[in-house]
């Protein structure tokens, strides 16, 4: 058995496979199928300062090898998280990553201040949600605003700070560099791509929000390229995601430069995906005589 623990921004994870934000809520539901301690970590549903109702339904549409969502950051708010979810979740033997999705820099700062004294392991500042009118991708598609919100949040917390980038940009490495310069300890990428589907019978977009975020295997090759680009542009560790649904995809992502990976939409196809990936990556490492999963990071040999 290879050594699967990885260290990111000072936080040690059981293994490099984290469940992506928004895909496993606060962890309770999937506990029915596997213990959360099998995971490297869980990035919880993006949270706002106050409870948020999210967008009207339909919020889900299927696409070839992918899905769109327009949940719109429905969440019970940071206070509820700290009071009712964190005490349970923090006993489960996995790393807890708090996904912070304020609609203004001030909101983000306020949320992070509340999280600072808790036993959350890491902050994932979400500047890339495509499903909300304020904040979200509006921060993340512009270097200056991405830098500003990072700077503000950086000053508000002593927790390891990871910033989650939007792929809906001309140059993701520019945004990555701007965010790194303001003190991000790690980067996670990618969030979803803005997409659409139409019901040709009713002529209505399938999503009530008209557009939504694309994730799933469809986006994997773009996400992989972006992780590689960012890896070549920054020094901080990267958590790679976007379409990972099997061990080979996780290994590609790590070779491209990721120190760990997140698994999102694939959990809806097969809820055991993250656990299978942990086991199969481990097997692959054994088969290839690699002792430590971290040895994969950034090993791609460009032509």
């Amino acid at each position: 058995m290879a050594h699967m623990r990885v260290k990111i921004a000072g936080v040690e994870l059981n293994n490099p496979v984290i469940v992506a934000s928004g895909c496993a809520g606060f962890g309770r539901e999937y506990e029915e199928l596997f213990p959360l301690s099998r995971l490297g970590g869980i990035s919880v549903k993006g949270m706002t300062l106050h409870p948020k109702a999210g967008n009207p339904p339909p919020r889900i549409a299927e696409t070839p090898s992918g899905m769109l969502n327009s949940v719109g950051l429905e969440n019970p708010g940071v206070d509820h998280f700290i009071e009712h979810e964190l005490p349970y979740l923090s006993q489960k033997g996995t790393t807890v990553i708090a996904n912070v999705a304020g609609s203004t820099p001030e909101d983000c700062v306020a949320i992070v201040r509340k999280l600072d004294p808790t036993n959350v392991d890491m902050i994932e500042l979400n500047i890339s949600c495509p499903n909300v009118k304020q904040g979200g991708a509006a921060f993340g598609t512009n270097c200056q605003s991405a830098a500003e919100v990072t700077k503000a949040v950086r000053q508000a917390t002593s927790k390891p700070l990871m910033v989650k980038l939007s792929p809906n940009v001309t140059s993701i490495s520019e945004i990555a560099k701007a965010v790194e310069a303001e003190g991000a300890d790690a980067l996670s990428l990618v969030n979803t791509f803005l997409g659409m589907r139409i019901d040709v019978e009713s002529k209505r977009p399938i999503l009530h929000n008209n557009v939504g975020g694309l994730s799933g295997p469809a986006i994997f090759p773009i996400a992989l390229r972006m992780v590689w680009e960012v890896y070549n542009a920054v020094k901080v560790p990267i958590i790679g995601m976007g379409g990972i649904y099997d061990s080979i995809y996780a290994i590609e992502m790590m070779m491209a430069g990721a120190s760990a990976v997140q698994v999102g939409a694939a959990i809806f196809t097969d809820p055991l995906t993250p656990v299978y990936i942990v086991d199969r990556v481990n097997q692959w490492l054994d088969d290839h005589g690699i002792h430590n999963v971290s040895e994969l990071t950034g090993t791609v040999k460009p032509w």
């Binding site: 928004g22 895909c23 496993a24 809520g25 539901e29 999937y30 029915e32 199928l33 549903k45 109702a53 999210g54 967008n55 009207p56 339904p57 339909p58 919020r59 889900i60 549409a61 299927e62 696409t63 090898s65 992918g66 899905m67 969502n69 949940v71 429905e74 399938i206 799933g216 295997p217 939409a265 959990i267 809806f268 196809t269 097969d270 809820p271 055991l272």
Partner: protein
């Protein structure tokens, strides 16, 4: 609520009408956990998302469950190609089912089209105390007609064009009955949204308890992704979103905002 994921074999496959299929699936695990009104999420080839299908029957002795589904698009199309002894990857049972009153209570079961199957376990439970009203486009679309005879239910069959049973909507029949003074202890309904809305109206008008089974597009099916929102009344008079896969699919008709 406890649920499982597993690979289960199809024992029988039947074709109930042109595009409607009936699978009996061996799963002691799911059968032993399930309640009427709950559903399962089935993985289909090529499709990233599972398909939610209600349980049409739960047989504890024989360890099987039953699903009845209609081909609507690609996913149900692929599902229909499975044959007896093929294996299905199923997640379930999921959601909140119907509230079961004592079996001697008087109930109405209102089913529209492919909304009829989830009523079967209720029909069996309430037997002669259940009045079942089912409606279909036409005679060719009628399914499960015999099923309700078995249970000695009073059964009224409607078709939109009168090609079989009574001509008209199930809600017309229900309205006549309620106006005529019938006061059941509960109305259960499953079917297209406009039908459910009308049933909910009638239940409110005549002040009768009513539970309806809702549908929404889903990803996880277990309450984790918040995809399947359904607008509901809060106790304090405001509205919020419940989630069909976890808080439903069965809701009290007073809760749902159409």
């Amino acid at each position: 609520m406890p649920y499982v994921q597993g690979i289960y074999p199809i024992l029988f496959k039947e074709n109930l009408s042109k595009n409607v299929f009936d699978f009996t699936i061996k799963s002691k695990e799911i059968a032993s956990l399930a309640q009427p009104g709950q559903f399962v999420q089935i993985r289909v080839p090529y499709m990233p998302l599972r398909r939610p299908i209600s349980l049409a029957d739960i047989n504890l002795d024989k360890d099987y469950i039953r699903i009845v589904f209609e081909i609507k698009g690609q996913g149900t199309g692929y599902l229909a190609q499975f044959k007896a002894w093929d294996n299905l990857d199923i997640l379930g049972p999921l959601g909140r089912g119907f509230t079961m009153l004592p079996p001697n209570k008087r109930v109405y079961l209102i089913g529209g089209g492919i909304g009829t199957p989830p009523l079967v376990p209720l029909a069996g439970y309430y037997g002669g105390n259940a009045t079942v009203i089912t409606g279909f486009r036409n005679a060719k679309a009628v399914i499960l007609d015999d099923e309700f005879k078995k249970f000695f239910n009073e059964h009224i069959l409607c078709t939109d064009d009168g090609s079989m049973g009574i001509k008209g909507f199930v809600t017309d029949v229900l309205y006549q009955r309620l106006k005529g003074g019938d006061r059941p202890d509960m109305i259960y309904a499953c079917g297209p949204k406009p039908m459910l809305q009308r049933v909910a109206q009638l239940a409110a008008e005549f002040d009768i308890e009513c539970e309806i089974s809702m549908e929404e597009r889903m990803a996880c099916g277990i309450g984790a992704c918040l995809g399947c929102a359904c607008k509901t009344h809060e106790h304090d008079g405001t509205s919020s979103y419940a989630h069909v896969c976890k808080d439903g699919p069965v809701f009290n008709s007073k809760e749902v905002i159409f």
